[in-house]
Every structure is written in structure tokens, then in C-alpha cells.
């Protein structure tokens, strides 16, 4: 260690036993979550779009489409291409949904927090309806 950056008095043993247990525990939980989602993930059948928990539309992934969602706070244009879902354009302030990577597995989702919009992939060959427009 450089003399300019002296370590604190307790000395060189950086981490205690409890720290290691904590790190290991957190990583295990992360891994458990990851495995859980990975095992359940499969090619999705539909993109379900909800605003504030209310269903706005269900779009089949098998058809390429640009779908404009009008929320109470602005619009998002959802693009489906080759079975992948992206947000093509939105007028939200952070643009996180637009920059989000494309999704196609069940359980994956794109969230636009400013508009309270969630696009999630759901499985299944058939949905109850092709499209719900309110």
C-alpha cells in the first residue's frame, strides 16, 4: 500500500469472517434468483403491456408490428420484430425503456417507470385476446 494511503489502525486483516459469510450469502441469493428465472424462461408467445397494473394490450411475438401505447403520461411505441420486443420510441424523461435490450424470453420485461408502463413476455400458444384497446 502506498504511504499516502495508510490503512486504518485495526491493521491488515481487511475482512472479518462475517463479511465473507455476507458476501457468500448475497451471491447465493443472486444465483438462486438467476437460476429460478433461467429455468422458467422459455420462448415467449405474447408481449403483455400493462399501465399501472391495468392491461393495455397483448401482442403476439410472431407478427412484426409497431404498436403505439398511449399512457396517461405520454406515449411508448412498442416494436416487435423477429420475435423480439423493444421500445422503439417514447417521450418519457429517462429513456431507459428505449435503451433497454430487446427481450423475448418469458419473464423478461421492459419497464418505463415514468409512464408506469410494463411490457412483459408471457408464454403460451394462445392468448385470451389478440389485442385489447381501451
Amino acid at each position: 500500500m502506498l504511504p499516502f494511503f495508510p490503512m486504518s489502525e485495526e491493521g491488515q486483516k481487511d475482512m472479518k469472517k462475517a463479511d465473507k459469510i455476507l458476501i457468500l450469502g448475497l451471491l447465493m441469493v443472486a444465483l438462486a434468483f438467476a437460476v429460478f428465472f433461467f429455468l422458467r424462461a422459455e420462448e415467449g408467445g405474447y408481449a403483455r403491456i400493462t399501465e399501472d397494473g391495468v392491461l393495455k394490450a397483448e401482442l403476439s411475438l410472431s407478427e412484426d408490428v409497431l404498436y403505439r401505447v398511449e399512457t396517461a403520461l405520454g406515449f411508448n411505441i412498442v416494436q416487435i420484430q423477429d420475435g423480439y420486443v423493444t421500445v422503439h420510441e417514447a417521450d418519457c424523461r429517462d429513456q431507459i425503456c428505449v435503451e433497454h435490450k430487446k427481450i423475448h424470453l418469458t419473464g423478461e420485461s421492459i419497464v418505463c417507470l415514468p409512464h408506469k408502463l410494463v411490457i412483459e413476455i408471457v408464454g403460451g400458444e394462445t392468448a385470451e385476446f389478440d389485442m385489447v384497446v381501451e
Binding site: F5, E10, A30, V111
Partner: protein
Amino acid sequence: MGEKNVAYYGLFAALAILMGYVELLIPLPLLVPGMKLGLANVIIVIVFYFMDTRAAFFISLVRVLLSGLLFAGFAGLLYSLAGAVFSFCIMALLKRTEQFSIIGVSIAGGVFHNIGQILVAAMVVENIRMMYYVPFLLFFGVSTGAVNGIMAKISLGYLNRRF
């Protein structure tokens, strides 16, 4: 509260806000919403050890309110506040047990800041699917938390020698 403490409160609050701003300047590939370096947490952790838990609470609160109003806008404030309160409680708890080093405290703080934000986000969009991000945030939080903890430890050694 002595004059020295007043100065420390102001100094550390300013540093914490500044670190939040520095963090905004560092471009980061945004793989997961809510992913942050948590540089401001370095200062909070230093305050935990250099001053006390009480000071850390108030400085953390001041930081969130001010940087929320300055940079994030009012809507972002809710997430930051939830994250800050959540991570403060965990850090205070871990520090109290005296089983954890500063690095462990920092890791827990970083991770639970993220978890708190995700919980609020899940409530806002009323969708439990937000939990999909938890594993990424945990991995990321552990690594940034460890780096932040080491930074805090090094700074603290320097501070304790000088003041």
C-alpha cells in the same frame, strides 16, 4: 453539538452530494434500471465510522433530499429516499453487531439501496416482475459495495491520522 461537529456535518453532506454528482458524470452501460455505482455511499460509510450512526442518518437524509431536488427531479426522490432509508437501516444494524468490517457494512448498504429502489419501483408499476432484476442488482451491488468499502477504509485511515 460542538462547532467542530457542525463543520463536519456540513463538510460530509457537501461531499456526499458532490459524490452523487460525480457519479452522474461517469457514463455507465445501463444494463439494469437502478444500477448505480453508489459513490455517495462511500461518504455515508465514512461518516458511520468517523462520526456516529446519528450523523450518518442526518447526512444521508440531507443528501437524498438535496441531490433529489438538484439532479433527479421530484419523481426520482421517492426511489432514492426508499433506497437510502433501507440501506441506512441495514448498515446501522450490521455496524451495531460489530461482527462486520467496514467493507461488509458498505456491501450491505449498496445491495440494500438497490433492493429498496426495486421494491418501490415494483409498487409503483404494480408488477412483481421487477424482481427479475434482483440477481443482476445483487451481483453488481456486492462488487461496487466492496470497492466502495475499500475506498472508505483507505480514506478513514487517512482521516483518523489527521484529525
